[in-house]
Amino acid sequence: MNQRFTANAARTEKVFRAISYALVFLMMACSVMTIGNLIQNVAPDSRSGIIAGIMLFIVIDRLYTYRQLKSLTPLSSEWTVAVGTQWIVIVLFIRLLLSYANGLDALLTDLSLFARGYLTSFFTPEFVFTLLLALLFWYLPAQFLELLDEIGLDQRLVLREDPTPIQSDTIPAHQRLVNLIFTLGIFLVILTALALINLRAMLSAPGAIPHLQVNPFSGGEAGVLFYFVFGLALLSLSRLMSLQTHWNQLRIPVSSKDLTRRWGMYSLAFLLILAVIVSLLPAGDSLGFFSLLATLLGFLMGVLIFLSQLLIALVLILFSLPFLLFGKAPPLLVNSPAPSLLPHLPVVAVSPVTNSALWMLIRSIFLWGALLAVIVFSFLRFVRQHDSLLAALRRSRITNWLILAWQWLYRNAGETGGTVSRALVDGWQNIVARLERKRLLPRTGLISLKLFDPRQRIYFFYLAMIRRGGEQGLRRKSSQTPSEYAATLEKALPAVAEDIDSITEAFVQARYSRHEVDSRQADRVKATWERIRRALQRMSRGE
């Protein structure tokens, strides 16, 4: 490893360390926010803000002291002293801050009690709970940082010459980081869901089955959302680190000098585009899947009923016409019911009420469509990951039958689609042709030469010569070859005999040879045709 490589690695390590520490801190802050929100929901009288502040302090402290503690041998005297003193400070800090949250008098009282040895008053349930949380937030950042070090944050660790032999069944560090982020994410999602439910109302509700009440908004949602965003950013960074470590270990040179910069740029763009798309997709205010289905079917049924009623009404009117002619009141119209109006989209009452039922329907279709896609995607991935299940499915008769049915449907749908489209095109062309014949539609006589290729342009000019020649009485007989017709024309137009020869030759080449015809040739033929056309015009004027 040369000196330049080491310097570059050190610089990159510094940048990676700063970014990853910041991301871990932000993720922990989001977790603190979510947990704080749950505490607020369950116990509104508790000092959740203070607890959240304490947790953030512990996270910062852990991030700051992580490398110092890591340099010590675990369970050695030095390590015990360092960790012990750190925790004494943390415990005192928590206790004093919780006391101070009740006011200065409460703090002084607690201090005096502590001085007298009343330790039972020291360990209140709130303090113990906060202590447990502190332990969790002291432990979690270290887990993230250890994995990041293993991935490649600590280049000395990963690039040492005598690495510990890696067992084949060991999960890669990046994979373990993904697992850690997602596991903590699941935990936070459940906590956020609990924070959304009005637990107090549920628990205090009379009756055997508690009613589910959902709070309109909880601050924990934002926390968990941002936790995942920062988590994805950390994954992107760790992916780059793991790849660089892998390349360094295998001595694979990185030819693109600015790969790290581009990675950062693309990661940001990727997450930004993802965030924009996610924000555009529908969420909430949606109908249930089956109610959505019922709504759609009801709407379709309503349309059918409306159409049938309309038809019945028309038939009744036709039957009533003879009575009207004789000046009698039609008997059928007297008590016949009027056709109902076109059914409106029914709106299921959900809270909060949306502005537009149609918009809600569209969003619901999007939502449930997306969910179905997710379920199908997950199922497929699951099946692909389990080969035995896939093999069993392939062996199953039901699966084979389903596959055959699908293939039959697919084939028939394709054939039907093709037939229908052909029928539509034919029908449309028939209609247009009939209208043109009846002179109801103007003939589309304009031809754009730009649409033709050079070969077709030569055809066009030659055919124009034949048409114009025919108009001047020099009609081409069906038995005449191009050369024979050229001879006929040359007799009538000796001044442009060479041009006629030239255009005929060009046409014959374009029509019967496989030579490449370029646009310059077509342009020359056009110029030739112009001279012949002028000669034909002079002939028509009798000059």
Binding site: H174, Q175, V178, N179, F182, T183, G185, I186, V189, I190, T192, A193, L196, I197, L212, V214, E221, V224, L225, F228, V229, L232, L235, S236, R239, S242, L243, W247, L250, I252, P253, V254, S255, S256, D258, L259, R262, W263, Y266, S267, F270, I273, L274, A275, I277, V278, S279, L281, P282, A283, G284, L367, L371, V374, I375, F377, S378, R381, F382, Q385
Partner: protein, 400 residues
């Protein structure tokens, strides 16, 4: 995909279904979107990569072959990282093989140049080029694509021979011969007075008219050295300790003799019973005797490709192909050992008007016994244990 991905999705779906929390749906979109978009990008990008190699596909021993590798992103989607690993044969590249990591922007390309050295004759695959890429978040496994391998032919070593005495029974050739048996009527070298018994066809009427006495033409005798080199690459026919060196020496002998014959504007063909990686059944195609440099290249290509093989007896091959060769053709059989069966077959060839020559390549304990038996059958035998022994053909002529 991570093992925790599906549990997370399941929890989110449950929460979305029962609580109708916006955040759960948004998270589903975010997580699934990150995974799906990452995978799509990765698959799409890899499908757009095209790699091409440019190099001289044939080389002589000792040459350095420059290989240009051109990797192009044909799509508009940038490729974040591509790990390129070229698989190169150890015989050409040694332990160092080409590998690199690149980033390719939209419709961008990258060029690489590396070289290999033709150290040993053979038919070597250059590649395949393994191309790895993956998603930006590392949620899915890395993808791998392979561009197909191309082949490099390294010709065998050719030792410039100057004097080989390979007898031929084929008349009407271009090589002068000392025996007046095969006189060439196109090669008149003088005239003499008519003697009784001279063919009337030999009389030079113009010379007879000018001298007033009957003169007959004297023709220069010549032979055609139509040769077929039969190379035995059956492993069992070589002494096991020196099998590799001996077979390589046999190939060098075959190439050098072919080169020498072609240089004399004679026809030479080849028959090998080894393994040819280029043919469908692995058996090398017999090349009939022809003249010219192009034909030599064809022979050398075959000799470059062929490899030693097991259980491929030479005698059936000779039996099968011998009858397609012309009368008087010289059969140069290069082998490690000669069994009685082989000697018998060569004897049959000799009786059939062909001219067998046996060349023993490599060291073998039974050499003397082979010589003795060959002498009984009237077959010429040459023996070479190493390339240096070929000096007898590069400096002086020696008939055994």
């Amino acid at each position: 995909m991570s093992g925790t991905f599906l549990p997370l999705l399941f929890v989110l779906l449950l929460i979305a279904a029962f609580i109708r929390g916006d955040f759960a749906l948004t998270l589903i979109y975010l997580v699934v979107g990150a995974l799906a978009a990452g995978m799509w990008w990765c698959y799409r990008a890899l499908a757009q990569v095209e790699a091409k190699r440019r190099f001289a596909s044939h080389a002589f021993l000792g040459e350095k072959i420059k290989i240009d590798l051109h990797v192009q992103n044909k799509g508009w989607l940038p490729i974040l990282w591509l790990e390129l690993r070229e698989t190169l044969p150890v015989a050409l590249a040694g332990p160092n093989s080409f590998q690199s990591v690149i980033h390719l922007g939209p419709r961008a390309s990258a060029n690489f140049e590396y070289s290999v050295e033709a150290r040993k004759r053979g038919y070597y695959p250059i590649g395949p080029l393994s191309i790895f890429t993956g998603d930006i978040l590392g949620l899915s496994e890395s993808l791998k694509a392979e561009s197909r391998a191309e082949h490099l032919v390294v010709y065998p070593k050719i030792i410039p021979l100057t004097s080989i005495e390979i007898p031929s029974h084929s008349p009407q050739g271009t090589l002068r011969h000392t025996l007046p048996l095969f006189e060439d009527p196109t090669r008149v070298f003088g005239k003499r007075g008519y003697a009784s018994g001279d063919s009337l066809r030999r009389i030079d009427w113009k010379a007879s008219a000018s001298t007033g006495r009957l003169q007959v033409k004297l023709f220069e005798p010549s032979i055609a050295l139509e040769t077929c080199v039969i190379l035995n690459l059956n492993a069992q026919d070589y002494y096991y300790r020196s099998r590799i060196d001996a077979t390589e020496l046999a190939v060098v002998l075959a190439a050098s003799i072919s080169n020498w014959i072609i240089a004399r504007k004679q026809m030479v063909g080849i028959m090998v019973n080894g393994h040819d990686p280029q043919t469908a059944d692995g058996k090398p195609q017999a090349i009939p005797p022809r003249k010219g440099k192009h034909h030599l290249i064809r022979l050398l290509e075959t000799l470059a490709r062929v490899e030693i093989t097991e259980n491929s007896a030479l005698v059936p091959l000779i039996q099968q192909q011998r009858y397609q060769l012309a009368w008087g053709t010289t059969l140069i059989v290069i082998t490690g050992q000669a069994s009685d069966e082989l000697l018998d077959e060569l004897y049959q060839a000799r009786r059939g008007g062909q001219n067998p020559v046996l060349i023993l390549a490599g060291r073998d304990a039974s050499e003397e016994s082979i010589r003795r038996r060959a002498r009984i059958f009237g077959i010429t035998v040459f023996s070479f244990t190493a390339e240096r022994d070929l000096k007898i053909w590069t400096q002086e002529s020696k008939r055994i």
